[in-house]
């Protein structure tokens, strides 16, 4: 008699097959959704409505994305606008640091972009060159104050003669100095350094005061801070580290004499202990604290620390000046901050433009200094503005000569870990290897420009 055989029959085997099918279906559906989401939805990138009706008496809701790093003006503007405009409501969303571009890129890919974005101005070319932003040329040209808008901010939103954004707020770099320490060191407190030779001389005299006082300070482990405060001194000397049209850009490191002069000055200050030892590890978290405590004579830094100088004693002690050119022929500033952009496919571009125009009006622009930022219109600089905001008047005066390196690779070249800019700085200033630093800077920046995708 043979043993009966037992095998899976009936429901058991089909059940396993049925278990596989739903899984595969889920994965396939998800893939289809994902790929569909990635498809270019073909949104129009040119606004065609008349300038007379676009951004006039708009209604509905406008979704406004602003960076958390510049949330002061965003919150104040949105609150004020919503109070005074009953038919148009602004809904504010703050994007976390280091996440703003990726969030916007994801929203655009998903076909659900916000209506207006306060985008970091150095990131605007990345989006404008991929047709991700609305062409608002005719509306910008219709602005009566267009010539007063920050040229540096506007340039970043320009391709040829087309505008894909307008300036929103300016976060500028200036040269802070301590008038009290200047007086104590026998220097004229109303004569801030006008070139790097004078910075060195003044820093040595202030450093000689001793007692924990240092002549100069820099954020020596903060790539972005160094670019923010050092690059303007090159632009004031009419040199840029990056030049040429996008896609074929060139690095101009090895031929940049002012750059070598500037790095040599920083090396001298580091080697001669004219800067605090902590500066080598200063990554920006406590940048400027030594200066605010009255322990540093000269600090290239962010205008924004002006918000901390509120008492008459502080205002008498601390002063700012434009960042001088390396060789002193002019001055400049880093046109940091944000541009207003309207993503292609925004659902309420007219409402977005109405909000933008309102934010650019003088009544709103004059509030920026109290919120830690600088207006983006040079015509705001009136005698009464200067009297009320002496620190910001200096920054706003420099705005007309401000600039930024126009490139898709700004973050990769200057800001990111191991950036070729920062490696060059480390080699030149901490190691004293100027020749090697310049050579590596040239090749490193060029290869980064060549490799960053558009």
């Amino acid at each position: 008699m043979t043993e009966p055989t037992y095998r899976l029959t009936g429901a058991a085997r089909p059940a396993r097959r049925r278990l596989r099918r739903p899984l595969l279906a889920v994965v396939a559906a998800g893939a289809a959704l994902g790929l569909a989401a990635c498809a270019n939805n073909g949104s129009s990138t040119t606004a065609t409505t008349s300038t007379k009706t676009f951004g006039v008496n708009a209604t509905g809701t406008v979704h406004f994305w602003a960076r958390q790093a510049t949330d002061g003006p965003a919150k104040a503007l949105v609150a004020e606008f919503n109070k005074t405009h009953k038919k148009l409501k602004i809904v504010l969303h703050l994007t976390p640091p280091n996440d703003d571009t990726s969030q916007l890129a994801t929203a655009i890919r998903a076909g659900d972009p916000p209506d207006v974005v306060g985008l970091n101005d150095i990131d605007v070319p990345t989006f404008s060159h991929e047709n991700a932003l609305l062409n608002i040329t005719k509306y910008v040209n219709a602005l009566s104050y267009k010539s007063a808008l920050s040229p540096g901010h506007l340039a970043l939103a320009t391709i040829g003669n087309k505008y894909f954004g307008v300036p929103y707020l300016a976060d500028l770099s200036v040269l802070w100095y301590n008038k009290t320490l200047f007086k104590r060191a026998g220097l004229n407190p109303n004569d801030p350094p006008a070139n790097y030779a004078q910075i060195l001389t003044d820093a040595k005299k202030i450093n000689a005061l001793g007692g924990g006082i240092h002549g100069f300070s820099f954020a020596g482990n903060c790539q972005g801070c160094l670019g923010f405060t050092m690059l303007p001194s090159l632009w004031a000397n009419s040199t840029h580290l990056i030049s040429g049209p996008l896609g074929t850009q060139k690095a101009n490191v090895s031929g940049d004499a002012p750059l070598q002069t500037m790095l040599a000055a920083y090396r001298t200050m580091w080697a001669n202990k004219l800067v605090p030892l902590n500066d080598q590890t200063q990554n920006g978290l406590t940048w400027g604290a030594d200066f605010e405590a009255g322990k540093v004579g000269i600090l290239p830094g962010d205008y924004g620390i002006a918000a901390k100088f509120t008492t008459p004693a502080q205002k008498a002690e601390f002063a700012d000046a434009p960042l001088p050119g390396v060789n002193g022929s002019s001055y400049s500033t880093f046109d940091g901050g944000d541009d207003f952009v309207i993503p292609a496919g925004a659902s309420n571009p007219s409402g977005a433009w109405e909000f933008i125009k309102w934010a650019l009006a003088p009544a709103q622009q004059v509030q920026y200094p109290s919120l830690g930022d600088t207006p983006v219109r040079t015509d705001i600089l009136t005698p009464s503005f200067a009297a009320k905001n002496p620190y910001d008047a200096v920054a706003l005066k420099a705005l007309a000569k401000g600039s930024v390196e126009y490139t898709l690779a700004y973050d990769a070249v200057f800001n990111e870990p191991g950036s070729p800019w920062f490696k060059m700085f480390e080699d030149a200033v901490y190691q004293g290897n100027m020749k090697g630093a310049i050579s590596e800077g040239q090749s490193g920046i060029q290869s980064t420009l060549d490799s960053v995708k558009s």
Binding site: T9, V26, N40, F127, L277, N278, P417, E426, K453
Partner: protein, 312 residues
């Protein structure tokens, strides 16, 4: 008299074990599927789909913004010549090798210390586990402040005992930075390892210890011959979690060294982050991620094989 064997009538079918009815089997299968469906869906949507989609992206030149094209395995061949990525793998493996054993040894030692019922054991367990609760991000920021050359407490304390100068710049020299980060991570993870070992130790039957005592085994022999073998699975799990965590290191290096000086402390995940969001090459970053998944999978598989108990 010959025994009679009952025989079945010729018409009766041969008796055999009948399977349950097919309807019942179908109901059971459907019930099982329904119960497992939420978990399956979760895994499919949040684990499998991103993995397969990421693999697809790695075969394209997907930028952060803009259209993309299929480019086959070009990203993978580019990785071989990507010196920053290759160096980040080497650095990450070196870092993993440095911290793994100390985390286990310190965790085990702490578990031995707190496993008794002596006064204060509960308080000690809480204090030792506290760093894990507070979190590595917070502690990394704290470490940045305390490791400042002239204002941090680390140099002040170490200079008093002659282990460092009062101006040592920990985070801007590769060796010192790696040392500081490693010490922080060992301190952070040791509490977690302690809790795992402690859980394992508390599940060991006391009869084994009694038998060892009867046999005259000392403390070390008991530990080596009873406790450690019984803890094999817990040790395996602790090591696997520790190694995978080290291979995926990001927060502590991003906060404390930012990958510097230069790119000497860039980990694999930092390299992927930089490629995706600074160089805006999501396709290449996805290829790096797939390579990392394979490496982590392989390391975990080897650990499971090496550390499994006989009979597993």
């Amino acid at each position: 008299m010959a025994p009679t064997v009952a025989t079945r009538p010729a018409t009766q079918p041969q008796a055999r074990r009948r399977p349950r009815s097919s309807a019942q089997a179908r109901r059971n299968a459907r019930t099982g599927l329904l119960l497992a469906a939420p978990a399956l869906l979760f895994v499919a949507v949040f684990a499998l789909y991103p993995l397969f989609f990421g693999a697809y992206i790695s075969l394209t030149n997907w930028p952060l913004v803009g259209p993309y094209h299929f480019i086959g395995f070009s990203n993978y061949s580019a990785l071989i010549h990507n010196s920053v990525f290759v160096e980040s793998i080497i650095f990450t493996l070196k870092y993993t090798a440095i911290v793994t054993i100390p985390i286990f040894v310190v965790g085990y030692g702490l578990a031995v210390f707190v496993r008794g019922n002596r006064p204060g054991s509960t308080v000690f367990r809480t204090l030792i586990f506290l760093p894990y609760i507070v979190g590595l991000v917070t502690e990394s920021y704290m470490a940045v402040v305390e490791l400042q050359p002239t204002s941090g407490s680390a140099n002040w304390l170490l200079s008093k005992v002659g282990l460092a100068s009062s101006s040592t710049a920990w985070l801007v020299h590769t060796g010192l930075a790696l040392t500081a980060v490693s010490i922080l991570v060992i301190w952070f993870y040791a509490g977690f390892a302690m809790m795992m070992m402690l859980a394992g130790m508390q599940s060991i039957p006391t009869e084994l210890y009694e038998a060892a005592k009867v046999d005259g085994a000392g403390w070390w022999t008991t530990e080596w011959r009873v406790t450690l073998p019984q803890l094999r699975r817990w040790i395996a799990l602790s090591l696997i979690i520790s190694v995978v965590g080290s291979l995926l290191a990001f927060n502590q290096f991003f906060i404390m060294t930012d990958g510097g000086p230069g790119t000497s402390t860039v980990t694999v995940v930092m390299s992927i982050y930089d490629t995706a969001f600074a160089q805006m090459d999501v396709g290449l970053a996805s290829a790096m991620s797939i390579v990392l998944v394979i490496v982590v999978g392989l390391v975990s598989f080897l650990q499971f094989r090496f550390l499994r108990e006989d009979g597993d």
